[in-house]
C-alpha cells in the first residue's frame, strides 16, 4: 500500500507528526469514507483490525469455557456411573430441540451477514430478528428444563435431594448416586453461563438490528454485523459440545 494515497504519517514513531495528523483528521473529513476511523489508513485496515480483535475475544471466551469443560472432565473421570445416572435425568428431546434451534439461529446469523454484504437492509433486519426469536425460543425451552430440575430436586452439591417420583424411567430401581450433586453443579454452571451468553447475544444482536435499521451499514461497511454473528456462532459452538457431553452420556 502506498502511504501517499492517504494522509497517514510516514513515520509512526514521531509523536509530533501523529498529533499534527490527528488535528488535521479531526479538522476536516478528507481522510476517507465516513465510517473510517481516523487512526486507520484504509477500510480494509480497519476491517482486519476489528476482526482480529473479535477473534482474540472469542479465544478468550473459549479459554473461559475451557475451565468449565476441564471441571466436567475431572468429575466425569472420577464418577462415571454417577454422571451416567444424572445424564439420564436430562430431557434429550428438549436438549435436541434446543440444538436445532441454535443451529438454525446460526444459519440466520450467517445469512444476515451475507445480506449485509449485499446491502439488502430489509433482509438483514428480518434475519437478525429471526436470530433473536430463536435465542428467546432457546431460553424458553431451557426454562422448562430448569423448572423440572428444581421440582425433581436435581440440584447442585448439597442441595441434591432427588424425588424418586420425578426421576427418569430409564434409571428406575437404580440407587441414587452419591455424587449426583457434582454433575448438577457442573450442569447448572455450564448451561447457566452459556444461557447468560445467549441473553447477552439477544442484547447485542438487537443493538446491531437497531443500527441496521438506522441505515448505518452499506456494502462497504458491515463489520459490526459480521462481528455480532461471530459472537453468536461461538455461543452455538459451545452448545455443540455441551449437548452430547451433558445429555447423551450412555
Amino acid at each position: 500500500m502506498s502511504t501517499a494515497s492517504t494522509d497517514a504519517p510516514a513515520s509512526p514513531d514521531s509523536a509530533l507528526a501523529d498529533k499534527a495528523h490527528d488535528d488535521h483528521a479531526h479538522g476536516d473529513h478528507s481522510h476517507g469514507p465516513k465510517f473510517l476511523a481516523h487512526h486507520f489508513d484504509t477500510p480494509v485496515h480497519q476491517f482486519d483490525t476489528a476482526k482480529l480483535g473479535m477473534w482474540l475475544f472469542l479465544a478468550q471466551e473459549l479459554l473461559f469455557f475451557g475451565g468449565l469443560f476441564v471441571a466436567y472432565g475431572i468429575y466425569r473421570n472420577w464418577y462415571p456411573d454417577d454422571f451416567s445416572w444424572s445424564s439420564h435425568q436430562l430431557d434429550r428431546f428438549m436438549g435436541g430441540a434446543n440444538t436445532i434451534v441454535l443451529l438454525f439461529s446460526s444459519l440466520t446469523a450467517a445469512l444476515a451477514v451475507r445480506s449485509a454484504q449485499l446491502g439488502t437492509r430489509k433482509n438483514t433486519s428480518i434475519l437478525l430478528l429471526i436470530t433473536i426469536a430463536c435465542a428467546f425460543g432457546f431460553l424458553v425451552i431451557k426454562y422448562f428444563e430448569y423448572v423440572h430440575k428444581f421440582e425433581a430436586g436435581l440440584l447442585p452439591g448439597n442441595l441434591f435431594h432427588p424425588h424418586v417420583d420425578h426421576l427418569a424411567a430409564s434409571t428406575a430401581g437404580l440407587p441414587i448416586p452419591r455424587h449426583g450433586g457434582s454433575f448438577f453443579g457442573i450442569y447448572f454452571m455450564m448451561t447457566g453461563v452459556h444461557g447468560v451468553h445467549v441473553i447477552i447475544g439477544i442484547g447485542v444482536i438487537f443493538w446491531i438490528w437497531l443500527r441496521n435499521h438506522r441505515g448505518e451499514f452499506t456494502t462497504e461497511y458491515w463489520t459490526p454485523v459480521d462481528l455480532v454473528a461471530l459472537y453468536w456462532h461461538l455461543v452455538d459452538l459451545v452448545w455443540i459440545y455441551l449437548f452430547p457431553l451433558l445429555y447423551l452420556i450412555d
Binding site: 480494509v44 482486519d48 479465544a59 444459519l107 451475507r114 461497511y221 449437548f243
Partner: protein, 153 residues
C-alpha cells in the same frame, strides 16, 4: 504496514471486498449440522461403552469445524485469525490433558509411599486406580508403618 497486506481482502483501493458465499452453501452446512445432530443422538442410544464418548466428541468436533470454517468464514479469512482460534484450542487441550493426568491418577501411588490425604484414616484422594487389598486402610496404619513397608518390591 505490511502486517495486513497479506490479507486476501487487500486490494489497491484499500476497500473491503467480501467473499459472498451462495445461500445454497449456508443451507447445505445447516442441513449437514442437523444430520450430524441426529447421528449423535442415534449413536448415544447404542451401548458401546467408552467408545460412545469418543464418537460424541468426534461428531461434535466435525460440527464445530463446519461452523468455524463456513459460518465464521475462517476459510476465506486472514490466516492469523485461524491461528488465534487454533492456538486457544491447543492451550485448552494442554489445560485439560495435564489436569486429567493429575486428577485421574491421584492415590495410585499412595499405598507405595504411605502418603494419604488423611493419614489418620488412610483416606486416599479421589480417583486413580483401586487400592490393592494389602494396602493399609485401618486407622493409624500409616503412622505405624514405615513409609516403604507396603511397597511390595
Amino acid at each position: 504496514m505490511s502486517a495486513y497486506r497479506e490479507n486476501e481482502h487487500e486490494s489497491d483501493d484499500g476497500a473491503v471486498h467480501a467473499h459472498i458465499a451462495p445461500i445454497k452453501l449456508y443451507v447445505g452446512i445447516f442441513l449437514a449440522l442437523i444430520f450430524f445432530t441426529i447421528i449423535t443422538v442415534a449413536l448415544s442410544l447404542v451401548h458401546l461403552g467408552p467408545v460412545n464418548l469418543a464418537i460424541a466428541i468426534v461428531i461434535a468436533t466435525l460440527k464445530a469445524a463446519l461452523v468455524v470454517t463456513f459460518f465464521m468464514h475462517l476459510k476465506d479469512d486472514n490466516r492469523f485469525n485461524a491461528l488465534v482460534f487454533i492456538g486457544s484450542l491447543l492451550f485448552g487441550g494442554v489445560f485439560l490433558a495435564y489436569t486429567l493426568n493429575d486428577t485421574g491418577r491421584r492415590g495410585e501411588t499412595d499405598h507405595l509411599q504411605g502418603a494419604y490425604v488423611n493419614p489418620a484414616t488412610g483416606e486416599v484422594a479421589p480417583g486413580g486406580a483401586p487400592i490393592p487389598v494389602e494396602a493399609p486402610v485401618e486407622a493409624g496404619a500409616a503412622h505405624d508403618a514405615p513409609a516403604n513397608a507396603h511397597g511390595g518390591h
